[in-house]
């Protein structure tokens, strides 16, 4: 198959004292081989939880309640290799051996704040070596050499010296590079990057995004880029999934999402971001209200209280709108497009298309 990872109807819930939190409500998407999928949304939309569910590293009390996470079998490029069935990660025991073999070796993850996700009491070299020894049959010496090679690959200057540095001795940008080195040390097929550049300065962010892109090309892997920054998504992703309150509301190629957004939420997001070159501006178009807290369960479309295209009786009905294809490869979960009558208003298609495709 062309897809490395297929997620079907994934739902994650948190059973807390205050009540059940429905963090992810039936999410479907595919991550294609050697491509980048962007997962974009505001805080609390479930994008990080979705990523953590893939690796079965959900926070305490979080549980996958339904759905499948199908990982394609590892096979060489040769077609004669007998196909093994895809592995459903959702069924694995989070503490079991099977998932541990996947983590780091097949799927790796990098996080927003490298200071909190690298161990402060181990050198960066030892953290890379640990991953290598865990997954590969190598001696310590070989692993150390490979660690130095990894640091060189991610652009850490003087890797022979930095291999023995502790994270606190490094700047934010270097730490993020070291974390990428740890994540890529066993050549995973999928790298999940959860806000990898949010904590960094723009000039360092550009370095890190370029690095991820270069490594993806050189090592051949899929990337899942999770961020709230639409600019980062536009520059890195091939396909984009827009999430809101635990659901995917729109899915398509980057060009579709940015040039022909269909869902009122996607449109609102794109309109509310000021852009460089727009000049000293008048008022911004904003989405009213804010993301409701995670305990709220809204009837019908979860976006309806904030939507400027709200249709009474339809959007606040019993069921949320299904994610349906409106154009080849472009899916939207909105009653404006699905469920029969299509209103004429969005027919212009591109109310806020900016720039050329």
């Amino acid at each position: 198959m062309d897809n490395l990872l297929e997620i079907r109807n994934l739902a994650v819930q948190f059973d807390t004292k205050e009540g059940m939190v429905h963090a992810v409500n039936g999410v479907d998407f595919d991550v294609r081989m050697n491509r980048t999928l962007g997962l974009v949304g505001e805080s609390g939309c479930g994008k990080s939880i979705t990523a953590r569910a893939i690796l079965q590293i959900l926070p305490p009390r979080g549980k996958i309640v339904s759905g499948e996470i199908l990982l394609a079998p590892r096979n060489g490029s040769a077609h004669d290799v007998p196909r093994v069935r895809p592995l459903d990660l959702a069924k694995l025991n989070p503490r079991g051996k099977a998932i541990r073999r996947i983590r780091g070796a097949d799927i790796s993850m990098i996080f927003q704040e490298p200071m909190t996700s690298l161990s402060p009491v181990h050198t960066v070299g030892n953290q890379i070596i640990e991953a290598i020894l865990l997954h590969q049959d190598k001696s310590k010496r070989e692993a150390r050499d490979q660690a130095i090679e990894m640091l060189r690959l991610v652009g850490v200057p003087m890797p022979e010296r930095r291999v023995d540095a502790y994270p606190y001795e490094l700047s934010g940008g270097l730490r993020q590079r070291c974390m990428i080195a740890v994540a890529l040390s066993c050549h995973p097929r999928l790298l999940i990057a959860d806000e990898p550049s949010t904590a960094l300065d723009v000039t360092i962010q550009a370095q890190i995004l370029n690095l991820i892109e270069r490594l993806q090309r050189e090592l051949g892997m899929s990337v899942m880029m999770i961020t709230h920054d639409l600019g980062v998504i536009a520059e890195t992703a091939d396909e984009v999934a827009v999430m809101y309150l635990g659901r995917i509301v729109e899915f398509g190629t980057a060009a579709m999402i940015f040039n022909e957004p269909r869902h009122p939420y996607t449109r609102g997001l794109l309109e509310s971001v000021p852009r460089i070159g727009q000049g000293h501006g008048e008022r911004l178009v904003s989405i009213r209200g804010s993301v409701p807290d995670s305990f709220t369960r809204l009837a019908g479309c979860p976006f309806h209280p904030r939507c400027d295209r709200f249709m009474k009786g339809t959007c606040d009905g019993a069921a949320p709108p299904p994610l349906e294809e409106v154009a080849p490869g472009h899916k939207v979960a909105c009653f404006l497009y699905t469920g029969g009558a299509r209103p004429s208003a969005p027919a212009d298609g591109t109310p806020n298309a900016k720039g050329g495709a």
Binding site: G173, I204, Q207, G231, F258, G279, L284, P351
Partner: protein
Amino acid sequence: MTQPLLEVSNLTKHFPIQAGFLKRVVGHIKAVEDVSFVINEGETLGLVGESGCGKTTTGRLILRLLDRTAGDLFFRLDGRRVDLCSLKGEALRRFRTHMQLIFQDPFSSLNPRMTVRDIIAEPLRALEFGNRKAIDERVAWLVEAVGLKSEFLQRYPHAFSGGQRQRIGIARALALNPKLIICDEPVSALDVSVQAQILNLLQDLQKEFALTYLFIAHDLAVVEHISDRVAVMYAGRIVEMAETSALFRHPRHPYTEALMEAVPEPSPGAKRERIVLPGEVADPSNLPPGCAFHPRCRYCQDRCKQDMPQLREIDDGHLAACHFAEKLDLKGASVVIEAG
């Protein structure tokens, strides 16, 4: 002709680095170095730069929350030119009614044990605004002015979302009718859809109450949107300052150009030819000789490694600190064409 509200001249702040048992001073972090600018009444001056460039320290020095190492601050109030640095004790405390601060993080800047009413009323009580009734009325009015409902007054900050908390912080800053508000990254902790609401609110309040803003941020697009003029800081110094459109269309300093290039554009068609700036932000305790930006600059020449460029006027009102500001043809932000 608009009057200058605040004049900052040659403002400098060095933090000592102490080491050892005797706390000997072994060096200085040059956080702010020879910074001069003027903010006119009613305008918004944007201050941008990467972390550690001294933009927040500049804001705190103006408010006298930190004491300067050198330099002068003058504030124009009712036709008088007040020397801010000479104010002390009670006089300084009273003067702070005219200058307020909005913080970045709406989660840590509001006391979780105080109700919204108490949070907003605190500056009013501290400076004896009036009797209880007057304060209550003022609080109720402020809450409405920032777009919250007065029913919320009895609640505690935890009950509010990030955007609503930032509105509470803004109401508190407005309580004493200040002239100047220093906004230190007021929207960078907020979700994108809420960010636009707060930016709109700040602009509306500015019109309504004739406020003057010093808008500190690292997000260039936000700064461009809200500012009349922009100053770019690097390693403690202002490297470029100009009217917003001039700065973004025709940057005169290579750092400004690189900063604009680095920002990811939310349009996938504009496939990047990103100039990636090598290296990291200069360490303010150990600045490179000459121009602090030279190790990362792609136009660097021998002269840049020795001579420190002074901030000088290149065009009318357009200042840059680069030896080659006139010669370089730097790329500005591409103008976004509005469709539809």
